[in-house]
Symmetry: C2
Subunit: 196 residues, 2 copies
Amino acid sequence: MVQDAEKPSRKPRADSIRNRELLLEAAKAVFSAGGSGASLEAVARAAGVGIGTLYRHFPTRDALFEAVYRREVEQLSDLAASLAASAPPEEALRRWLHATVELAATKRGMLAALELAAEGRAELYAYSSDRMQAAAGTLVSRARTAGAIRDDLSAEEMLRAVLGLVGAWYRSGTPGLQDTVRRLVDVFVDGMRAGA
Amino acid sequence: MVQDAEKPSRKPRADSIRNRELLLEAAKAVFSAGGSGASLEAVARAAGVGIGTLYRHFPTRDALFEAVYRREVEQLSDLAASLAASAPPEEALRRWLHATVELAATKRGMLAALELAAEGRAELYAYSSDRMQAAAGTLVSRARTAGAIRDDLSAEEMLRAVLGLVGAWYRSGTPGLQDTVRRLVDVFVDGMRAGA
DNA sequence: ATGTTATACGGAGGATGCCTCCGTTTATCA
DNA sequence: TGATAAACGGAGGCATCCTCCGTATAACAT
């Protein structure tokens, strides 16, 4: 999977593993409360750990984001697979986007993680990005093959556009309006239909 | 218009007016180069003015943004009026959105100003917000009356959605792809058509 | 001209956050 | 029970943000 064995050198230290876990929990809490721009020193403080330890485990803010929201990304990825197997192409795509948006609405901070994944700035944090791209790609290409949607639009572009749209609401305050955002996503999906 | 006379107290000081102008010029330059997050101290430095003076004239970053891009907002507002008078409803709306997007693409920093305007967080910087809302409102309600677009979508929602979409590209790097963004805006506009 | 005073100026300073670096501690392994 | 690789923690340098207030000066009155 992801953790290749590499070197059989030495067993990882117990405190290291524990601190990593503490940091992830603290980060989830802090990002939920304060948004994705929250202070990393606050995260370290909440975890009861030195700031240096935080940076050693997660060299960048983005790395921390990816780790915190990895589980959610996996869920979305799984959902894509199951929708692809059980719903008609356009319906599947729409439902998946709704789920994505809902997740972003629920967990403040998740949005940032998804945007990172959508930007596909490879190398770093590649994992989540790959999963999301693959998930979106599956649904889009299936819909395209079925002739349900226009073909001048890549999965990556679609994902990014939808997340941007969502971000316009959830980034700076103005919460709660999930219905509105849902409607706007629908507008976009309608616009993707084949007939132009 | 905007400058109501209020109190006939005293003539504004010459240095005050001059510094305000210097600050606006400097801000435009700095924001163009460094994006909307550029340091305000850098702006003050570029203007050859103390940081205190900057804050006195523009108490918040947003206030500075509004002032810097006020002219552009007015142009968009005028464009909306002229399109409303000269093009068929849907066409007018589409062209106006394209123009808005293009402006955001050209001037780094403009995007931030427009997003502020679209959020309509009243009271502060109300002026630009009003102009943009009015411009979008005119075009939307005309198209709606003509039966060209669905009616469960407000002008504000549309504007915000489109700017969010654009922001997904222009905020964090990935420049140049104006064609892509244009295409995505078209998708959204297509989705707004009446028939759902 | 010159004095008075409302206004504006400038930047020091306190606060916060980022990230690095390195002396100290500690878990693992022999 | 050492030896040592690995991890810890936080001080410190740097960059902002924004406020506050002593000083300077433009506008007005005489």
